[in-house]
Assembly symmetry: C2
Homo-oligomer: 614 residues x 2
């Protein structure tokens, strides 16, 4: 195996040509993507994978940066080199040394290296590849599970290479912005932590002490606040977080958030910081983003979009048309309006009347309360409602909704609580229109939106007379609502802000409670929680806590939207499958009883009588 | 609670003065460490903690950057401000607005802000601190457990503030070097992984599928190699790693490594990269470091220092003096030399003969094989050996060891296997001398050293006829030793390199095996391991793996040496105690049976009959 002496020689010959490039300290002199006519005549060394072989004339060599055409020498004196090259299989790894030549006229192409080729004079074969389970080409449709099983091959695709590199660069720019320009301190916080009260989604990690477990936290929330109490002043971390949700679409058991906390700051300060950070780190090839971002209250978002994370790339807002029907006698409208918070809402779907199919699909969604009104090209209506509506009501309806001929009006009667259904109906209408070739959302647009003034508490789903935190118990109330904490806590709005991008929540944060008495009141009197689990945090607030606030951005989701990926799995090097499995290494896996012994646990097999034990 | 409207007003008045400083986007205009005579007359806002109160005249305000003296106004018209300030307790958090003044002559001090003070004109009290469990002053000796319980207070000390900030900046510079200058890609790898064969130190994480567990990996070793197979070319990650070692001094169950892997590189390339990276990122206040680092083979290190991580800041090397005694008849020397690998070694302790106490302590270490020789000021020897040695042997001994009057010679007879004992004796001598006021090691010096040419395999401790990997099974053999794999594997040296700083191993890495057949041979034929657990890696090597290698640096240890900390706990924000506990939040903690149910495990209490169950 006379590989290394040769490499070392070559290294000494070529290395260190360029200390500040991807070829520094490497066996190669250049990458496969960088040679052009300026290099003609140069003696170069390239390393890479055989993309394909063309007859016995060319080998196309690939690395992360691109492709270079290698010319197979045909002279008798180079028969060894020729034989080595022609014996290769696709995806074999080689090092080629030779001279850069201009391609013969007519053989150029538009690739960055399309005007040159390298005449091979020396070849080192590092590894001959076996036949792959699939071809590494964009157009080959692979099954998701095959891609995951051979993830290291899937990652060779130019799309995955780009995604990983864009993610790395985005994070680097965020770090530079936070660390170098704004004095943030990158602090690592523990992931072996204590279980949060009610932390049902936290993985447990048995310790060597019987019955004692660590927990993998869903976020560094407590630590970031404690760092503010510690006087760190400005903290950030690209933090690994854990959430055990079983199988949820496009969630990962471990994920990454850009975690930020500042002292002596208000909402405006955090929002401005995040806007500037995203603007600073935004990939140049994705255009620039405008700041400040649009801001909307939770109430406005629910009113106009029926959702707290509206996709503002398109209109089709909810319109309250209750007043048009204030004296209606149409039964289903009347009974809706007679309820508490009864309301009649309309969504105008532009050009939605043209095809029947989408309308039918939409119709099936909310069959009891929804009615369709098609505006004919002559301006008259076609609708089961039509005969129930007077001409004047029809006129007002058309006017208020600004419906045009060819539009579809969706009219829903119910209570305000059904607005989320209309919000999702709005999104489905957009999808339906797009699936029928009518563009609704610009796929290249990035619409950022702050949603603010959320309620601080919501009724518990199973016990609606009790309250739970809308986000988490550390969020401070709006100053003007603070007094309501003691009288009507359900009316208190919190200093929470969500960041929404194209209808996805990509971040959320708040100004925190910084006084122990207020925090204790919220925990004990409003949330009825046992504060003893948070003694350390309450104590910390008593020993000189500054006012502080922060935010966490979901990095996986943010990157996936930037690159236009269908799933966050496309921006994570080694994601888990839908069921939380690593299909490549087959994790999770069995562990022997012997290996579990130090942790004082054993497995309760559901099929055995163990299932009965408590 | 009329806090926030005021803050918002103040924010609008003062914020954004400086977008690129620690006061950007903040309620303050300046930090407590930056004001000087250039600011005299300026209207400023400071936020911070009350360091102390001096009569009713001054408040010393502190933030992460320093201290500023706040002058309490004494006029009647400012009685509210005066009352607010004088009612404060130490460590309360306030915001002060006022004018910067030059201190009266004679009241200046040498602090950066020692020539000015700020006359308070407005005060906002954010939080009044309760009496602390200890004072935040360097000179107060606190118990380790108290420091850990109130870690957020301990972190307010200037030492911990400096440590955390130096660590953050060091890592930032490493990132800039790797990412921006050398084309590395920051890739996050999973921490919920599959158990490594024999991974006895891996925490297990139960999944929701009965009997299936994730494992928290000790390093991203497999993933980094797979990323090279994936064509990522250059990978780095500041990686969180996990190791469950029970209680070991100064180890943490989770720790951080600077994890690096490159394709198409050799040992020299990796070593040059690491040297340049450390040089680039080295904190300016710690002086500069010289590259290239000294290199030593494993054999040389064992021969001269008796250890594979020698502290090269001082001499006192092991000297083989066997030849002097080749014809000795002194019984314990003779019997040592007659053994296989028998040897007589000397350590020269300069000036070690002056005090008897250290010699006694040293003596007790190796009482059977060790003899002491004191060189008197007149050049004669004092030793139990003396009467057994001829004059000529004595002369040669003095000459060979270059012993001077007043020196101590430690002479040990045994086999070469006892060299590690002498290595630790050498370190203890240095400590003893230093504890007696004789400086041996420069506390400000940083001596880097590469140790190379380690044996690839070592005899297993419990079954010495079998071999195990000296580091891990993926390390490639030295090219010139490859043929020995098939004949005398115990003689094969690996392409492994350790980085040693001041006698501590701070990193290690290797060039990896990149051919499946060689990897399989090592696993199956030499290590007798079941290769089926590594099918995914072996397969990956078969599908076009490039030659590759890398390194991992222990970040916690590196930073602790740079800042001169006694423990890595001093460079980690929230470390675990010796027993792996978080003394602040009290993790690990109990988890209810109900919370364990989804994970199909239960606790095997050692005191109950559960202990008998299998």
């Amino acid at each position: 195996m006379p590989l290394w002496p040769k490499l070392v020689n070559l290294y000494q010959e070529y290395a260190c040509y360029n200390m500040s490039s991807p070829s520094s300290l490497s066996l190669r002199t250049h990458t496969c993507g960088e040679l052009n006519v300026d290099h003609v005549g140069k003696w170069v060394t390239l390393c890479g994978w055989v993309q394909y072989l063309r007859q016995d004339l060319f080998v196309i060599l690939r690395d992360f940066s691109g492709l270079t055409q290698i010319l197979v020498p045909q002279e008798e004196s180079a028969s060894k080199v020729k034989a080595d090259l022609c014996d290769l299989t696709v995806e074999s790894v080689i090092m080629v040394t030779g001279t850069v030549r201009k391609r013969p006229a007519g053989q150029e192409n538009k690739m960055p290296t399309g005007e040159i080729e390298v005449l091979a004079e020396n070849v080192e074969v590092f590894n001959v590849s076996k036949k792959l389970p699939f071809e590494i080409k964009e157009f080959v449709k692979k099954s998701e599970s095959l891609r995951m099983q051979y993830r290291y091959l899937d990652l060779r695709s130019s799309r995955m290479q780009k995604n990983l590199r864009l993610r790395s660069q985005l994070v680097m720019k965020m770090r530079e912005f936070l660390c170098n320009e704004h004095g943030f301190v990158d602090v690592e916080t523990p992931t072996l932590f204590k279980r949060t009260p009610g932390g049902a989604k936290e993985f447990v990690v048995p310790s060597r002490e019987p019955g004692l477990f660590y927990s993998l936290p869903q976020s560094p929330q407590q630590f970031k606040q404690l760092l503010m109490v510690a006087g760190v002043d400005r903290y950030f971390q690209i933090a690994r977080c854990y959430r055990d949700e079983g199988s949820k679409p496009d969630r990962q058991p471990e994920f990454t958030q850009v975690d930020i906390e500042m002292s002596f700051v208000d909402q405006e300060g955090i929002r401005t910081l995040v806007e500037s950070m995203l603007q600073h780190s935004w990939p140049a090839e994705k255009g620039s983003i405008q700041v400040p971002f649009q801001t909307m209250t939770y109430e406005e978002a629910m009113r106009d979009y029926g959702v707290d994370k509206p996709d503002t790339r398109f209109n089709m807002k909810l319109t309250d048309i209750s007043d048009i029907f204030s004296s209606t006698q149409v039964e289903f409208l009347r009974s809706a309006l007679d309820q508490p918070e009864g309301s009649i809402q309309a969504i105008l779907v532009p050009c939605g009347a043209v095809r029947r199919k989408p309308s039918h699909e939409v119709h099936s969604l909310l069959v009891f309360f929804l009615s369709l009104v098609l505006v004919r090209t002559d301006g008259t209506l076609k609708s089961p409602l039509k005969k129930l509506l007077s001409a004047s009501v029809t006129d007002v309806l058309i006017k208020k909704t600004q419906a045009q001929p060819g539009d579809l009006l969706l009219i829903a009667a119910g209570t305000l609580h059904s607005r989320p259904l209309l919000g999702s109906l709005r999104l489905q209408c957009a999808e339906l229109l797009e699936s029928h070739g009518r563009p609704v959302r610009d796929p290249l647009a990035f619409h950022f939106l702050w949603v603010v003034d959320f309620p601080l508490f919501l009724p518990k789903e199973d016990e609606p007379q009790e309250l739970e935190s809308a986000h988490h118990p550390f969020t401070a109330p709006l100053p003007e609502d603070t007094a309501l904490l003691f009288t009507e806590p359900h009316k208190v709005r919190g200093q929470h802000y969500d960041l929404v991008l194209n209808g996805c929540e990509i971040g959320g944060g708040s100004i925190r409670i910084h006084r122990a008495s207020e925090q204790l009141y919220v925990l004990k009197n409003i949330l009825k929680e046992d504060p003893s689990q948070l003694t350390h945090l309450l104590e910390a607030l008593d020993f000189g806590a500054p006012p502080h606030g922060g935010i966490a951005l979901g990095l996986d989701r943010l990157v996936s939207i930037i690159v236009g990926a269908a799933s966050i799995r496309d921006v994570i090097a080694f994601p888990k499958s839908f069921r939380g499995h690593d299909l490549m290494s087959r994790a999770p896996d069995t562990v022997s009883d012997k290996d579990l012994t130090p942790y004082h646990i054993y497995v309760k097999w559901p099929t055995k009588q163990g299932g009965e034990e408590k």
